[in-house]
Symmetry: C2
Subunit: 346 residues, 2 copies
């Protein structure tokens, strides 16, 4: 098994998890400059923003930076269901003074397609990672033809084998502790999702490509544990959220620094797919997982104005406060310092 360092041309086996909505190229560059693998999440970027961010990466470094895309099947719009979702949220619209008759279009999350491919082909990133599976074979082949190393996320042994069979270069084994969106794509049955300590050794035993452990890793001792389990490296997200280079909002930072960060849950309320965040008012009142939420990513649009209104009053009651099950590593230190501290456990 090649080491992650050999494979990706990095010095430290620490991947900064791509975190759409809370970071841009700046965090990625800080991590890559420190010798880790910074990541740029592209799922919520317009093509224009993507070009701008890729250009920022290209201008700043020759080191590998990972660019990350989602690979979900775009949902069929379902006006009835979306209307029911807005009705479920109606009491909150009234409370926060949101004009329910004129909701703006929400944040979009587009799957990797030909437009993103064209941008990738123009900028030729050294590493490309995918979440929710992989793009269609022809698209994937064109990314691989650029010489990019491909990372992809598995949450089960079956998914890891599926990804390896399609030629990914390394697998991110995402344990249930991880913050943000669960990457499952072969089954929606959440009982199939495993804790990091159980998942990593089983994935490492099942595939020949390097395994990058993700989920609950907050400090050097977590990295040491992951390496003991057979990981070739780690992917860490939550611990970077308080770094000055992240664009984490004020309410999100406050939540991460508080005792409440100890209680996270998987919720589909903010996007339509299960993702781990700190339990807040909306999750408590609707239940963190609701049948009422439309398919990913359609649930987001109706919640977005509530989030904006609440955040402008300093409240995270309606915000996706993404976080893993161990926020103990969150500190307001430069991302480079955090990267080196984490790597000390490798």
């Amino acid at each position: 098994m090649r080491t992650l360092r050999e494979l990706l041309g990095i010095e430290l086996p620490v991947v900064q998890a791509p975190m759409a909505g809370v970071q841009d190229a700046r965090l990625a560059l800080a991590v890559s400059a420190a010798g880790g693998l910074g990541s740029l999440p592209c799922a919520m970027l317009t093509p224009e923003a993507m070009r701008r961010e890729f250009a920022a990466l290209a201008a700043a470094t020759d080191r590998p930076v990972n660019v990350n895309f989602f690979c979900h099947a775009p949902p069929r719009p379902d006006p009835t269901r979306e209307e029911a979702w807005r009705r479920a949220l109606a009491p909150y619209y009234r409370e926060l003074g949101v004009d329910a008759a004129n909701l703006p279009p929400g944040p979009s999350r587009a799957p990797f397609g030909t437009e993103a491919l064209a941008i990738v082909e123009a900028f030729r990133p050294k590493v490309v990672s995918f979440h929710f599976g992989l793009p269609a074979d022809d698209l994937l082949a064109r990314v691989k033809a650029l010489g990019a190393h491909i990372l992809a996320c598995a949450t089960t042994v079956e998914e890891a084998r599926w990804l390896e069979a399609r030629g990914v270069d390394a697998i991110v084994a995402q344990g249930l502790e991880a913050g943000g969106h669960r990457g499952h794509f072969l089954s929606r049955d959440l009982t199939a999702q495993m804790g990091t300590l159980a998942l990593v050794p089983q994935v490492a035993a099942a595939v020949r490509v390097p395994v990058i452990a993700a989920g609950g890793i907050a400090d050097a001792s977590g990295v040491a544990a992951a390496m003991a389990l057979g990981a070739a490296g780690v992917q860490v997200g939550t611990a970077y959220l308080l770094c000055p280079e992240a664009t984490t909002s004020a309410v999100h930072r406050a939540a991460l620094a508080g005792e409440g960060a100890r209680h996270t849950a998987l919720t589909n309320l903010f996007s339509g797919r299960p993702a781990r965040g700190i339990v807040n008012r909306l999750m408590r009142e609707l239940g963190p997982l609701s049948e009422a939420a439309p398919a990913f990513p359609l649930a987001a649009a109706a919640v977005a104005p509530l989030r904006a209104a609440a955040e402008s009053a300093g409240s995270g009651d309606f915000s996706p406060l993404w976080a893993g099950q161990n926020a103990g590593g969150c500190r307001g230190i430069p991302a480079a310092d955090l990267t080196r501290e984490l790597a000390a456990g490798a």
Copy 2:
């Protein structure tokens, strides 16, 4: 922090998890003889059986052996709910030819009380552990007065602090990967349950007593990971289930050795409390967590005859196939060998 070895007088920091229903004194003795801490689960034993097992321990060894008790509040019988539960199971009674009008009393699980205390006082075990919290203060004080070291299970930081404040000598931090019954006792909210990799470092940072990591630890590398996370030792259950000294049933052994062991879920169908087992027919058909199941341990009685009928035909469709999320360590080797192999990771 004292090491677990110093505290408990054992050679290897490996605790064999008490597993009611699949083991007796024989497994405990094999583990303790190898230098680990064997455990005798007492929750399903009659006072007579308990005396017999304690006598077997006393006759065989002077080494520490842990005796384990449940501390749940006994449920108020609820005939309406129990009748509804039997109705939910009625199609299965018909299918398996079980006489629903004459169901035998099911397996009982009594909480630690004065009768168990009297037996403990007679046999003076060196280590006593509790699940689902602790017994009442006066009972606990009498156990401590015997000089027994007290272990207890925490599934959250709050539970760990609660246990430490009541004077336990070491805390078993039970991650979500663990097989069998979840030990939570301060909250029933399952979203509060954490993966081992996230739980152990947070508990270790929150208390001063030694922390024993449990959940998903299947081999020496899992032990090494747990120690890296700050654990003073490990508790391992699932990996012992195929040992010849365990009383694991044939259907349970077959399930553990199969591919299906990769898919476990928390289920309350077999007892009324969430416990992790391999997904089988009853869990698939009723949903692993059902509102219909009566309070712990009352759900068990109505399922027991289905289990017996199915098992006599070689089927585990109605059996609690307890297992953690990593059955990769299950092998039919002597428990002493397994204990030494695990300890090599410490």
